[in-house]
Each structure stands twice: as C-alpha cells, then as structure tokens.
C-alpha cells in the first residue's frame, strides 16, 4: 500500500512539472484497481471451478469441429491446386506464338468460309440485277419505239393535211383565174349598226345577198 502511494506521489509529482494547474489533476485508473496492484488478499487463493459441458454436448461439438476441419481442409486443397501460383504453368513464349498462329489459321478458315458464302449470294444477286436491267431496257426500248411511231404518224398526218390543202394553192397556172375571181367577188368586212342593233354589212360594195343581217344586243 505504501509502495503504491509512493508510486502515486511520484506520478503526480512528475505530472506537476508539466501541467500548468496541479489542482485539477486526475490519474488514469484501469478497472477497479491500478494495474501494478497485486491480487487482493481475499481473492488470493480463489480457484474458479472449471467449466464442463455435458457429455452429449461435448461429443456433438467435437463431431461438428472434426467434420468442419476436414471439409475446410479439402476445400483449401482444392483451391490450392487450382489457384496456387506454384501450380500454374510458366509462360512459354514459343507456345504462345504457336497458339496465336493456330488461332489465326482457324480464324482465316472461318473467314474463307464466310467469303465463299457471300460470293455465292453476291453472284446470285448480280445475275438477278442483270436480268432485271435487261428487261427494263427492253421495256424502255419498246416505249421509245412506240413514241417514235406516234410522232411519225402525227408528222404524216400533218403532211397529208398540207397536201390536201395544197390543191387550193394558187399556182402560176391558176393565177389569172384567181385574180379574176377576186375581182369578181370583192369582200367587204365593213359594217354599220342601226339603233336596234342590226348589223348592216358593206360600205362601198353591196354585200352578198346570202349573208343574213346579224343582230347585236347592247349590253346592259
């Protein structure tokens, strides 16, 4: 006890040198008694009874632990076999190159196969397109020919009409007769209107008798 007190004093003294206010000094305590205190006299010869499980429980517990340990061990072994770096194969450059080459050959085979398929389909497509374009060209040619024929027909019709009209043309042989006819049949387009709106044709010449007098109605 005295020793402890001395220790305490020592502690406080050492603290005093550092702390600005020794009045509010507190010492740290662990549990019920300071760490350096020996076992209490009253507890010195105390022996706590050993905890014992019932027999059944103990057997059960042992069984559980045994099976658990074996299972964990086997899992660990499996994982070690699978993932341990020691068991992993070392990196072989030659093998890696070979693998890449093999992979390339395989890929190129697949590529060739695809190309073959695509070639087939492309040829089919081109053939089909060619046939279609030929048919289209034929159709267009037919249409064009039809148009030409129509044009020709219209032209011929025009020529025929002109030919027909040319019968009435004044040729040098018919010139005298035509002049005579014109002199004998003067045409006068002048006319006058009376209050009733009647059209009276002719100013200097007499109109032909067969022309009926027309009536013009004044607009309101």
């Amino acid at each position: 006890m005295l020793k402890a007190l001395n220790n305490f004093k020592l502690l406080s003294m050492t603290c005093e040198t550092f702390s600005p206010n020794s009045l509010y000094q507190q010492s740290v305590r662990w549990g019920r008694k300071p760490l350096w205190f020996p076992t209490a006299k009253s507890k010195l010869f105390r022996v706590s009874p050993r905890k014992r499980l019932p027999k059944e429980e103990e057997v059960e517990k042992r069984r559980l632990y045994n099976s658990y340990r074996t299972q964990v061990k086997s899992i660990k072994q499996y994982l070690e076999e699978k993932y341990s770096l020691e068991n992993q194969e070392a990196f072989d450059e030659e093998k890696h190159k070979m693998e890449i080459e093999e992979d390339f050959i395989q890929c190129s085979e697949i590529n060739d196969k695809w190309n073959e398929e695509i070639k087939k389909s492309r040829e089919e497509r081109v053939e089909k397109e060619l046939q279609e374009s030929i048919e289209d060209a034929k159709r267009r040619l037919e249409k064009r020919l039809k148009i030409y024929a129509e044009q020709r027909e219209t032209a011929e019709e025009a020529v025929r009409q002109v030919k027909e009209a040319s019968q009435h043309f004044i040729t040098p042989d018919k010139l005298d007769a035509a002049i005579e006819y014109a002199i004998n049949n003067p045409v006068d387009y002048n006319f006058a209107l009376d209050l009733d709106g009647n059209k009276i044709r002719g100013r200097e010449t007499k109109p032909p008798s067969k022309i009926e007098p027309e009536k013009i109605s004044a607009k309101a």
Partner: protein, 135 residues
C-alpha cells in the same frame, strides 16, 4: 502513417498471410473491412488487399450487410492465406465454407433460451386462463 484501405499490394515473399477484419468506422459505430494482410502486421497496419466489407449493425430491414470478393478470396486461400475465425464464420454463412460449428452452437443456445422463455411465459399465463373458467 496512413495506408490506402484498399490495400498496398506489397508483402514479403514468404510471409504468413491471413484474411481478417480491420475495424473502421468510429466510436460506437463499428464497420469492418475484410482484408488479406501479413499476419505479423498489426490490425490497422497496411493491408495487402481489401476483399470485402462487413457492417455488423443491422439496418432498417434488420440486415447486416456483407460484401465479399470471392474471386480474390479463392485466389488468396489457394495461395496459402489463413482465415480468422470471425471471417470463417461469415464465409460459412455466405456458403463459401461449411457452416462454422460456433454458428450451430450459438443457434442451438438461442433456440434453447427461447424455448425456455416460451415455457416460462405459458406457465405464467396458465393460472390466468384457468381462473375465469373456475369463476
């Protein structure tokens, strides 16, 4: 000295490694990282790699959330890392390892106490039930 909690990735070649908890969080709020570390290094020291997390405080749905990187756990166990008991318990509940015996033992203990409590409650209620019948 502060170390990245995701791990430094550095370790001595032939040192013993262990998968264990590292307490993060703060006072009255525990939160654990599950890490692989060298056994000789203290808990808060540099970890080799983080393998998961564990939140021991139940959330609103009464769940304790755990995350585990099984791929890396498999790798580290395969390369000779040991596991701490609490991590083994978690792995057992996660289905990675067989269920740990302590899980069975605590469960049976809890069941027994529950049964006892129920028995006690039924005994207490029995006289109350019989009394109105007698009257």
């Amino acid at each position: 000295m502060l170390y990245p909690s995701s791990g430094t990735g550095q370790f001595a070649a032939n040192s013993a490694k262990i998968i264990r908890f590292v307490r993060k969080g703060c006072t009255n709020r525990p939160f654990f990282h599950i890490v692989v570390a060298e056994r000789r290094i203290e808990q808060q020291g540099p970890a080799i790699e983080q393998l998961g997390t564990f939140d021991p405080m139940p959330n609103e749905q009464d769940e304790k959330l755990v995350s585990l990187n099984f791929e890396r756990i498999r790798y580290w166990i395969g390369n000779g890392a040991d596991t701490s008991k609490s991590v083994r318990r978690l792995l057992g509940l996660a289905g990675f390892y067989p269920v740990h015996p302590t899980s069975y033992i605590t469960a049976s203990k809890n069941r027994r106490t529950e049964e006892e409590a129920a028995l006690k409650a039924s005994e207490e209620t029995k006289p109350n039930e019989t009394s109105p019948a007698n009257v």
